[in-house]
Amino acid sequence: MLEKEKVDEIKRERERWEKTTLPNWIRQCPECKSEFRNHSGMLIKRVYTPEDVKDLDYIRDLGFPGEYPFTRGLHATMYRGRLWTMRMFAGYGTAEDTNKRFKYLLSEGETGLSTAFDYPTIMGYDSDHPMARGEVGVCGVAISSLQDMEVLFNGIPLDKVTTSMTINGPASILLSMYIAVGDKQGVSREKLGGTTQNDNLKEFFAQKLCIFPPKPSVKLTTDVIEYCARHLPKWNPVSISGYHIREAGATALQELAFTLYDGIAYVESTLERGLKVDDFAHRLSFFFASHNDFFEEIAKFRAARRLWAKIMKERFHAKNPRSMWMRMHVQTSGCTLTAQQPLNNIVRTTIQALAAVLGGTQSLHTNSFDEALCLPTEEAVRVALRTQQIIAYESGVTNTVDPLGGSYYVEALTKEMEEKAMEYIQKIDDMGGAVAAIEKGFFQKEIAESAYRYQREIDEKKRILVGVNEFTIEGEECPIELLRIDPKVEKEQVARLQKLKRERDNRKVKEILEKLHYAAEKEENLMPTIIEAVKAYATLGEITDVLRKVYGEYKELIVI
């Protein structure tokens, strides 16, 4: 950004500083490591100067917020105009329990809903399935039919809130139920706003909630993208996720590269349906983690925006700037929370949330301090929400757009993230794409290696976890109250489900499931048929079983 002579002068001065001032300091106060690296493996320098950004071109590489390449932010005014959405992930027990928690969060100032489903629902099992035993309502809300969905959103006007649903394999089914609820409320489909996670690729190497093999899974994701492009203009059909990739043990760099690649794969699969890129790309959204290394995370978010914009423009020839937007939701990292001294987690979450804000996120979930132990209590989730509100209203960081833009360190790191991510993308291209790489176990191996390395660093105390391998409390007891799911939940849910199955028009259900089977074999877009099925009160499990018959079930490729 400076002329060559000025940069050379700085270089000379730095070299002089390294010869004269620095050695005394090193003698008095030696550096605690011979090399400082972040977990992505990047070497961190002692001090960054204009030399490190000498090739940075402000107009080309940063630009102004709201304009390509969007490094500084998607919107021209960012948080000065509108804060990020405070969207707290919630869900447990029955639909009534979660409905109550939704209303509580809305009343406390949350601006968007985010739904957690229980394991059986996520895996396409009804609450009365043998595999659901002991799991109903435990990690999220149990939804087995449209009836449950109606209870979940009872009293919540779908034209006034946006709802995110963390669901992947059965995403088309849950979205169909949401549409059906909206229809009943009299809200027109064009007004329905929200997101379905619906990112099936990452399941194979990160979240592992895969039901069907890779090819039909991509097909189901694409069905939803296509359907929304045509019928639900305000809905984000997919939240291309890096969060789970990171939680599975990947580095920030791997999170960035693999997520972007999944995005590339979905754009390609949707283009194959005959849509034009500008028809749907503006509704693709992303979901990242925010971890403890403050600057690494900020660089990652900025690099993500710039890199996606370039990919959409150069690889996919998007014309509409909105197609080049990387809209992201961020969640603070779950795996960095400790069970030991849980109140420390409030501090961790704050640092992580701040990184997400300085990284320019559109939407943010902050974890509660008790989440290493349990689902959050009302008190804990309130503190997490307040964390966002304090950052928003008290810290002043929202007064300007991209406050860290121009920092020698942050810009150098952003560039390095981008370049290294591109290398990964090239490598996966060479392998034949995302599905080929999954079948070869590429992602799985990379992640397993990073996870193992991380654990070794902790075991060897090369990485400090406060309260866990350092600054511990002997004989610590659990000082906080935990949220417990009443085992009654399962009984009630099962009873309700069985009542539904008795009282609905079973002939109609049978017919529609046959229709679905036929449509799946013909490789049609299944959304319209699934909407019909949920309206007839076919259950989630019944619909998924039809698809299981057609697509088969996935068996995992294990790489440790």
Binding site: V138, K208, E247, I560
Partner: protein, 135 residues
């Protein structure tokens, strides 16, 4: 080359919980400590876990669960182990199991519960010290 006895460990993921990062890290660490590790993969029923332990004649079972379903699944697993005569297998568990549930789990016969943040060395040492002796 004489084959000496090796410690055979089954690492199992009961129920629908899909978090396998910990199970895989522990599996690898145990392998690197010289043990033979059989990993079942995700979403195993108690019946599958116990049958596997029987066929593989393991010395130790490590159960990994983060979903909160341990209260339903662990008793069933321990019951089946007894039914099949596998009472000499040492069972330990890890994941997210609240402190207040630990005494109950231990009463079922689970030897130790390792919470989040347990160093892998500790788990390896524990297995080495507590692996049942065979005659």
């Amino acid at each position: 080359m004489q084959s000496k006895r090796k410690i055979r460990v089954l690492i199992a993921k009961p129920g629908l919980d899909s978090h396998d990062r910990g199970a895989k890290v522990v599996a690898r660490a145990l392998r690197d400590a010289g043990m033979e590790v059989i990993y079942t993969g995700l979403r195993q029923t108690p019946e599958q876990i116990v049958e596997t332990a029987l066929q593989e004649d393991v010395d130790v079972i490590g159960l990994s669960i983060l979903s909160g379903a341990h209260k339903a699944l662990f008793p069933r697993i321990m019951e089946l182990l007894k039914e099949k005569g596998l009472t000499d297998v040492m069972v330990f568990a890890g994941g997210i199991i609240p402190d207040e549930d630990v005494p109950e789990m231990k009463k079922l016969g689970i030897k130790e519960i390792f919470g989040p943040g347990t160093p892998t060395e500790k788990i390896i040492e524990f297995v080495l010290e507590n692996v049942p002796k065979r005659t």
